[in-house]
């Protein structure tokens, strides 16, 4: 077998141009697929006609109902799925690199626990008297939990390095436990069975009920997160040998750590407030991409964002079609599909080495 020269491109900017060329077509295909497939399959030409009508103001004659399903329901849903997948994957990349912990995932910092407490407080306790939505409650809860974890970590922390990273992980565990307990307490105290089931469903992560209005939150969150990650590509690389090593390479360690972890947390909180806590993506997509494109962030950041987006669109398609007449929570699908795919990548990689 002849191996072509696979010397990776060392230039961050040239790498990004390459990804900027690859990503849009793939993303477009995924979005169209996400729009065409579902309980009722809509022919591809109808999808494309509706999209050109809506986006470019074309005037193809299409069925009103088809048009509604495609535009208001499925496309919005696919866009949210894409942003959410990209955001969670980026968040995972950042946390794994900075905490130097391969088990770090976006929910490590107490965000999903806080979001569920916030959502339950609004949905069950009626906090805010109907003025604030469940999403807003979830977002506030997530930020509150993250602030708690960050405060705990900085009180217990001290210094930099692996010990500080360990302290953050432990603070995250403590915060998550606390907020999970609060959630359980609220549910036990005042939820009826029906409400409890609805909340469970929401907590597992799901995209039903997602509309265009939700993209106002998730699209900026994903784009902002991606931009911040791209601007920190070299800083993330510099953490390879730990934070002392990063400092000796000229990285303002504290500032980068606080800034990036903060952005990862905000981005995750925004996603969770719209879709609930979709598991697996933030943990496994970064690992899968490390196996495919390597550990350097000039490739890992764009690859993870793209893979996360496509993966979640696909998972949502499966969630909608696998059981006729019923939509599975997407969190269930991500794990059910993702785990075997990840296993295949792991095994394939072993054979290749």
């Amino acid at each position: 077998m002849t191996v072509t020269d696979r010397r990776p491109n060392r230039s961050a900017s040239r790498n990004l141009w390459k990804w900027a060329a690859i990503a849009p077509p793939l993303l477009f295909i995924a979005l169209v697929a996400g729009t065409a497939m579902g309980e009722t399959s809509i022919p591809m030409d109808v999808v494309l006609k509706v999209l050109s009508n809506k986006i470019f103001g074309a005037a193809y004659p299409v069925d009103r109902i088809d048009s509604g399903i495609i535009w208001s329901y499925r496309l919005a849903r696919a866009v949210v799925a894409a942003c959410c997948g990209a955001g969670l994957a980026l968040s995972g990349v950042v946390l794994q690199a900075l905490l130097r912990n391969s088990l770090a995932d976006p929910y490590l910092l107490g965000i999903s626990a806080g979001a569920s407490t916030g959502a339950v407080a609004v949905a069950v306790m009626g906090l805010g008297g109907g003025l604030i939505s469940m999403s807003m409650g979830a977002f506030a809860g997530a930020i509150l939990a993250f602030a708690f974890v960050a405060m705990l970590a900085s009180l217990a922390g001290g210094g930099t390095g692996l010990r500080a990273a360990g302290v953050i992980v432990l603070a995250g565990i403590a915060g998550s436990q606390l907020f999970n307990a609060l959630t359980a307490f609220l549910i036990a105290k005042s939820a009826n069975a029906e409400q409890a089931r609805g909340i469970m469903f929401w907590l597992m992560g799901n995209l039903s009920g997602v509309r265009w209005a939700d993209t106002v939150t998730v699209v900026p969150a994903a784009l902002f997160g991606l931009l911040v990650c791209i601007l920190n590509i070299r800083a993330l690389d510099a953490f390879t040998f730990g934070s002392d090593s990063a400092a000796s390479l000229g990285i303002a360690v504290k500032r980068v750590q606080f800034g990036l972890i903060g952005v990862a947390a905000l981005m995750t909180a925004a996603m969770v407030s719209i879709t609930g806590s979709i598991g697996f993506v933030g943990l496994v997509i970064p690992h899968a991409m490390r196996l495919v494109v390597g550990t350097r962030h000039r490739a890992l950041i764009p690859a993870s964002a793209l893979a996360g987006a496509i993966f979640l669109i696909m998972a949502d398609i499966i969630a909608r079609i696998v059981i006729p007449g019923q939509v599975l929570p997407i969190g269930v699908v991500t794990a059910l599909v993702g785990a075997p795919v990840f296993a295949l990548i792991l095994i394939g990689r072993r054979a290749a080495v």
Binding site: R234, A238, D244, L249, G250, G294
Partner: protein
């Protein structure tokens, strides 16, 4: 570039790890840092490198207090080779050495031919030619150490701090690396345990329990009394029949001595 520190101290929980360390490196010299385990060599080096903030005192790099410099400005002038540096990431030798260019590249600045040449040169300097695409976790201890040194060389520093750079190396590479460091026309500080190797330094600084005991030329500093006092060993000084340089043989001190 001149590196200097005044009354440096570092404390954890009221325990003085390093105290009152004042040093002034001369332009282009090689300063050896010796002392028993736990005497504070690594801690002092980290403070000098600006990766750990001193509890008391100041470090001056080229006359400017380090606290006033940006981390990136420091890294453009000064490089540190840590005693232990490890990673779980799958990174190649070349990628590890490329990290040395970090302080010189802005976010989207392209990788230039010059960067490439510097990296390849650094890899060749530590005798790792042919290892460029090997994975970090497949390297031996000494090879990893040489990668770390190459990474520091790729920073093209004017001050180089090395924490026990030879502790995993075979004898040939120990000599080669020390000679390489010695010949660099920059200011160097090297923490070492092998006192015979420390003879190569222009000056030697002896540390004990976080304090600088003495500082001076190797042949003045390394005396039988000093070895006894600082390290608790007996040393016999002999003369190398080939080049006339001093050689030390060590024995354990007997309790009753």
């Amino acid at each position: 570039m001149i590196l200097r520190c005044e009354n440096l101290g570092w404390r954890v929980r009221r325990k003085e790890i390093v105290s009152n360390a004042s040093l002034s490196m001369n332009e282009g010299e090689m300063l050896g840092l010796i002392g028993p385990n736990g005497s504070g060599k690594s801690t002092l080096l980290r403070m000098l490198a600006g990766v750990r903030y001193p509890s008391t005192g100041r470090v001056y790099l080229g006359g400017t207090p380090m606290a006033e410099l940006r981390q990136r400005d420091i890294a453009q002038k000064l490089a540190l080779v840590e005693q232990h540096a490890d990673t779980e990431e799958r990174i190649t030798v070349r990628e590890a050495v490329e990290l040395g260019r970090t302080p010189f590249l802005s976010v989207l600045q392209p990788w230039s031919h010059e960067d490439e040449a510097i990296v390849l040169h650094a890899i060749a300097a530590v005798d790792l030619h042919g290892f460029e695409n090997r994975n970090w976790h497949t390297l031996s201890g000494g090879e990893r150490q040489r990668v770390q040194i190459a990474r520091a060389l790729a920073q093209q520093p004017q001050v180089l701090l090395l924490d026990e750079p030879t502790n995993h190396l075979d004898i040939k590479h120990q000599l080669a690396i020390l000679q390489l460091v010695k010949e660099l026309p920059i200011t160097k500080v090297v923490a070492l345990h092998d006192l015979n190797q420390a003879m190569i330094c222009d000056r030697i600084c002896v540390m004990h329990s976080g304090r600088i005991e003495t500082l001076g030329a190797p042949c003045e500093i390394l005396t039988e009394e000093r070895l006894m006092k600082t390290f608790g060993v007996c040393g016999h000084f002999m003369t190398d029949p080939f080049d006339g340089s001093p050689v030390i043989r060590f024995h354990r001190a007997h309790k009753e001595d």
